[in-house]
């Protein structure tokens, strides 16, 4: 199923205990990112381009609103679905930015991050052995969420020639009787790729033709540069087939708050709420209060951060190409995904040696799936000074390795 080697989480121990861990978890490959985390954390003065989160602190007015809610004593559970005011603000926001309308009473669920939204979706829709089609390379949690819910991830290679956007014509041959859904996430982690409306329309036609669901992880929707984002559920006839997942982590720099949402028609929100009410009960109240503030008054802060990311993006892309690591123009999220094939190293070798020799951390593309091999993920959510220094060091490294 997954490409990484088998590592027992809890091998039979000398204490004579049997292995108490479930087979599924035992067989589960560890995250390819973990190893790099340990290695990087053990070193000093590393410039990290390996961090998948904003370098901005949550805007002050949002933090202040959360503090105020604590002072006022908002420390209790909320309704399972989340505060109604938050769902109403979200409905307004989705309508305003993407032209999609969801009923705040029955079609929106507030979750503990986009992460919970993904997990709930899989648990709500999958029977054992059913398949979900996902791009490769992909965000690290996609296959894990599918497998843990008893499903099978089916990988569709996405290629650099196509700017890392998935193609309906590559999806279609992989559809079987077991296929339940297509999971897409654009703008994408790890590539920074965006997808255009014309291709989304092709995917929509596939969904209709084979009666499939589309799970759309749009957490990076606001971090998009000089192009427009199309929300999948805004496509003709797609609202009923789309599970739209989003969050606050990236656009509002709120990763640590753990808040996100799912928007879908009632037939999906209801069963997901059922799972959520037993497993999570509700999203932290303080985070919900902060999210209301973010939606109500956070727009100028989002714009400020997006503008800053865009400047850094341009600098990083230009420098990568200059130092001999060709990179397609990523137009979303905060990642560049340069090819390292000319160096003759695997992405893991490249990342490890770059870290040891020049103290710059990047994430090997192979951590995001087989098709990520030959690339590394460089995140530009860090200061311009850091980007410039890191690229200087990478240039030195590449020149040294040149055949």
């Amino acid at each position: 199923m997954l490409e990484t080697q088998h590592i027992a989480a809890n091998p039979e121990t000398s204490s004579g205990q049997r292995n108490f861990i479930s087979q599924k978890v035992n067989d589960f490959p560890p995250s390819g990112i973990r190893k790099f985390f340990d290695l990087t954390a053990s070193m000093k003065e590393v410039i990290s381009l390996g961090i998948g989160e904003p370098d901005f602190v949550t805007p002050w007015h949002i933090r202040e609103a959360a503090t105020y809610s604590l002072e006022k004593g908002y420390t209790m559970y909320t309704s399972n679905s989340g505060l109604l005011e938050l769902r109403q603000e979200l409905a307004r926001y989705l309508e305003l930015h993407y032209g999609v309308s969801y009923n705040p009473e029955s079609e929106i669920l507030i979750t503990v991050g986009t992460s919970e939204g993904l997990d709930l979706t899989m648990r709500a829709i999958l029977n054992p052995g059913e398949e979900i089609i996902i791009p490769d390379p992909h965000y690290v949690a996609y296959p894990a969420d599918i497998i843990l819910a008893g499903g099978v991830p089916i990988f569709v290679p996405v290629s650099e020639e196509n700017n890392f956007a998935i193609k309906a014509s590559d999806i279609e041959p992989r559809i079987t009787k077991q296929t339940k859904a297509i999971l897409i996430g654009y703008p994408a982690n790890p590539t920074g790729a965006v997808i255009f409306k014309s291709e989304l329309n092709n995917i929509a036609r596939l969904a209709e033709k084979y009666d499939l669901l589309v799970i759309s992880d749009e957490i990076y929707a606001r971090l998009i540069y000089s192009v427009e984002h199309t929300c999948f559920s805004s496509l003709l006839g797609m609202k009923e087939r789309t599970i739209l997942i989003g969050g606050f982590s990236k656009s509002y720099a709120m990763t640590g708050w753990r808040i996100g949402y799912v928007a879908a028609s009632r037939q999906f929100i209801q069963p997901m709420t059922k799972i959520h009410q037993y497993t999570m009960l509700c999203c932290p109240t303080m985070a919900q209060m902060a999210a209301i503030e973010a939606l109500k008054r956070g727009e100028s802060e989002v714009e400020r951060m997006v503008q800053e990311y865009d400047r850094r993006r341009r600098v990083m892309l230009k420098r990568l190409n200059e130092i001999g690591l060709p990179c397609f123009e990523s137009k979303g999220a905060f990642y560049a995904f340069p090819s390292i094939k000319t160096t003759g190293m695997t992405s893991e070798e490249f990342a490890e040696r770059l870290l040891k020799e020049e103290k710059v951390a990047v994430v090997p593309g192979s951590a995001f799936g087989q098709c990520g091999e030959g690339f590394v993920r460089c995140c530009y959510a860090t200061s311009l000074a850091n980007i410039e220094e890191a690229l200087e060091r990478m240039g030195r490294f590449v020149r040294r390795k040149a055949p």
Binding site: I33, F37, T40, A41, G50, I51, D55, N189
Partner: protein
């Protein structure tokens, strides 16, 4: 074009090439915009924000509220000019509210500032009253917060 100035305001050392990359217009164009702005006074000056306290340098600052009787035809401008021409005055603003001019002055010690107030500012014709507030601590200036930069709270690698 605005973006060019926003970047320069944050970092006066940004080169036309760097700015060109950041905003996606040719470097020659950026250079032209900057030259023009320097000429027409859009760019007033390139300055550096220095935390003098770090060098242990003693400096005294005061914010002075000045009440003024405006002049016929000239309003506040003539008297404001008499005040802001003094080199001790670092910034001067006409403000709404219970006083008229807000004046930020800088001196080497308290005596320097008090003699400026008592000998120069207060005796000026049309200055009706002054209230002097000595600065005790600076937290933020020109958008920059004066505190040791927060160490990075992010983990080294995240998904």
């Amino acid at each position: 074009m605005e973006q060019v100035f926003e970047i320069l305001e944050q970092n006066a050392k940004a080169s036309p090439e760097q700015i060109s990359t950041m905003v996606g217009i040719p470097a020659s164009e950026v250079e032209k915009i900057i030259k023009q702005a320097e000429k027409d006074g859009t760019i007033v000056k390139y300055k550096t924000t220095i935390n003098w306290a770090k060098l242990g340098k003693e400096e005294v600052w005061a914010l002075i509220e000045v009440k003024i009787a405006p002049q016929r035809d000239l309003g506040f401008d003539a008297i404001a000019e008499r005040i802001y021409q003094f080199p001790q005055v670092y910034s001067a603003y006409l403000v709404s509210g219970t006083y008229d001019l807000a004046v930020l002055v800088k001196g080497r010690n308290m005596r320097e500032i008090s003699s400026f107030v008592t000998e120069k500012l207060a005796p000026l014709e049309r200055v009706q009253s002054t209230v002097t507030h000595f600065l005790l601590k600076r937290y933020k200036e020109n958008g920059e917060i004066f505190q040791p930069s927060l160490e990075n709270k992010r983990l080294a690698i995240t998904p």
